[in-house]
C-alpha cells in the first residue's frame, strides 16, 4: 500500500469482524491479488474500488475460499482455517456474487430457501428469516412463486441480496450489485445495503461506480493491479476530480 495516497483522519477499526491480512491469489502464473490487507467492523460499510481487472472480485472470491490463496482471513478474531469453498459461508461470511448467481429456473421462494441451506430442517427459523427478507424487499413477497430468471435485473438483485440475508450473515460481501441496473433501481438496492449496515451488519461492497459507493462507505480501499494503492476517507472526497487524483496517483 502506498501511504502517500492514504487519507489522513481515517479512524482505526476498533474490533474488526473480518480482518484480511496479506491475502494473495493467482490464476495460474498471473498474480491477481498481492498481499492485500482490509478490514471491516460492526456497522461499517467499506467499499473496494478500482478499474476493471484490478482484482476486486478476486479479493472477494479469495476471502470466500473459492480460489486458492495465501494469507490470513480472520473472522471475529479466529482464522478461517478450513478455507474450502462453502466453509466461510457456514461461519456467516456470505457473498452476493457478481452477476447475482441466482438460480433462474427456480422460483423466488426456492432461491430464498436455498439461502437458508445451513438451517437444515428448522422450518420455523426459515419462515422467520423469510418474513425478515420480505420486510426488506416487499416485492419479493408479491412475486415469490415467479421463476427468478423471468424477473427484471433489479428484482433479480433483490433475490440475490435476499438469498444472502436468508443465510443470516455476520459479514455481507457484495460484488458489483449495480451491474446492469438502472440508476433508480441501483439507488434502491444501495439504500437497503446502507440500512443493513446501519443496523450493525458489516458490509464489504465491491463497486465500479465509485461515487455511489462512496456515498455509503465509511472507508474505501482502492485496488489497482491486485494491490491496495489507497485507503480513502469518503468524507474527504468532495469532487470527481479529487477521486480521480486517487485513481491516477
Amino acid at each position: 500500500m502506498n501511504p502517500a495516497a492514504t487519507s489522513s483522519s481515517l479512524p482505526e477499526v476498533a474490533q474488526p469482524v473480518l480482518d484480511v491480512r496479506s491475502l494473495s491469489a493467482s490464476y495460474g502464473h498471473v498474480e491477481a491479488l498481492r498481499s492485500v490487507d482490509i478490514s471491516v467492523g460492526r456497522g461499517e460499510l467499506v467499499a473496494v474500488l478500482g478499474p476493471n481487472g484490478a482484482g476486486k472480485s478476486t479479493l472477494l472470491r479469495a476471502i470466500m475460499g473459492l480460489i486458492p490463496n495465501h494469507g490470513e482471513v480472520l473472522f471475529q478474531g479466529n482464522a478461517l482455517t478450513r478455507r474450502k469453498p462453502g466453509a466461510a459461508a457456514t461461519k456467516g461470511v456470505v457473498l452476493v456474487p457478481e452477476g447475482r448467481g441466482i438460480f433462474g429456473p427456480m422460483t423466488v421462494l426456492e432461491n430464498l430457501e436455498l439461502g437458508a441451506y445451513s438451517v437444515g430442517r428448522d422450518k420455523k427459523e426459515v419462515e422467520r428469516r423469510l418474513t425478515s427478507v420480505f420486510g426488506l424487499f416487499p416485492r419479493l413477497k408479491e412475486r415469490f412463486k415467479q421463476t427468478a430468471g423471468s424477473m427484471s435485473g433489479g428484482e433479480q438483485q433483490m433475490v440475490a441480496v435476499g438469498r444472502a440475508m436468508m443465510a443470516d450473515p455476520k459479514v455481507l460481501l457484495l460484488d458489483e450489485p449495480s451491474l446492469g441496473l438502472a440508476p433508480r433501481v441501483t439507488g434502491e438496492i444501495l439504500d437497503t445495503l446502507g440500512a443493513l449496515s446501519q443496523s450493525g451488519l458489516p458490509v464489504i461492497l465491491v463497486e465500479q461506480k465509485a461515487p455511489l459507493a462512496l456515498q455509503l462507505a465509511c472507508r474505501a480501499y482502492l485496488l489497482s493491479l491486485g494491490r491496495i494503492v489507497a485507503t480513502i476517507n469518503p468524507r474527504e472526497v468532495k469532487s470527481h476530480d479529487e477521486l480521480a487524483q486517487y485513481y491516477f496517483a
Partner: protein, 330 residues
Amino acid sequence: MTSSPSTTLPEARSAVQTTRLPLATAAVWAVSAAIVGYALIFGGYAATIISFALIYAVFVSGLNVFMGLTAQVSFGQSAFAAIGGYSSAVLTTTYAWPPLAGMSAGLVFSLLAAWAIGFPTLRLKGHYLAMATLAIGLITYEIAVEWESVTQGYLGISGIPPLGIGPFEAVSDRQILVVLSVVVLVIAFAVKRIQHSRLGRSFAAVAGSEEAAATLGINVARTKLVSFLLAAGLASISGSLFVHVVGYVSPEVFGLHMVILAFSMVYIGGLGTVAGPLIGALIVSILPEVFRGMKDSQDLAYGIALILILIYAPKGIAGVAGAFDARRAA
C-alpha cells in the same frame, strides 16, 4: 397468484401447491401406464420389449439424477450396470446366492467403485468429466472381456436364476412386468422425494452455479459425489435386473451402445423430470418396433423420428408437459 399481505407464507405456499392438477404430467404417466398395461394384457413379444424398456428406465433414472438434477455429465454409468450385473450373475451362479442378495452385493460393490472413482474424477468439469467417465465405462468393458476366470469373457455367464424373493420367482412375462413396474414406480417416487428435499435443492443449486452454491454453504464436491453415488446405485440395480430377467450376461450388454441409448432416452423423455426416464425409455424402445415393417428404411425412420421429437420437444416429452402445467398454474 399474489398473496395478500395478510396471508402467511405457509398458507400462500400450500395454496400454490394445490392450485391446479398437473394434467399434462398426469397424461404422460397415463400414457406410460397404458403402454405397460397393453404389454401386460397381450404379453409375448410386447411384454419382452416393455420389460427391457422398464429396466432401462431404472438405469436412465440414475442418469437423470446426475445429469438432469445436478447438471453433470457421465458417459460411464454402464460401468456400474456392469458391476451390478456381473456381481448378481457370478454370486447367484457360482456361489448359489439368492437373487436379492446378489443384487444387494452388486449395489455395494458399485457404490464402493463409484466412491473410489468419483472422489478424484468429480473435480473435473464439463468435457473433461465426460471424457473421464467415458474412459471408466470403456475400462470396465475391457475388464469384463479380459477377466475370463470370473466373467467368462465373450462367452458370458448363462443359467442366471430369475428374479425372486424366497419361494416366489418372477418367471412369466407378466410376472416380470409387474415386478419391474413396481421397481420403476418406487424409484420414480424416491426421485420425486429427493427432488423436493434439501438434498435435491443442493443438486439444483450445483446445477445452477457451483460457485453460487458454494457461497451458500453447500459442499459442492460432496453434493456431486452423492448424486454420482445415486446414479451408480440405480445403474447397478438395472444391471442386476437385466441379468436376472434375461438369464445371461456378456460384456456387449454394457458397451457404448447402452450409454448412447440411455442418453437418447433421457433427452427424449425430459432431462430433470421424474416421468422423463420412463416415457423416454418406452418411446425409444417401442419406436424400432413401430418401424419394423419398413425393413431397410427402419433405422432411417427411427433416426428421423428421434430428431423430430427433439426439434419439437427440446425439453423432452415430460419437460414439455411440465412447462404446460406450469403455464396453467401461473
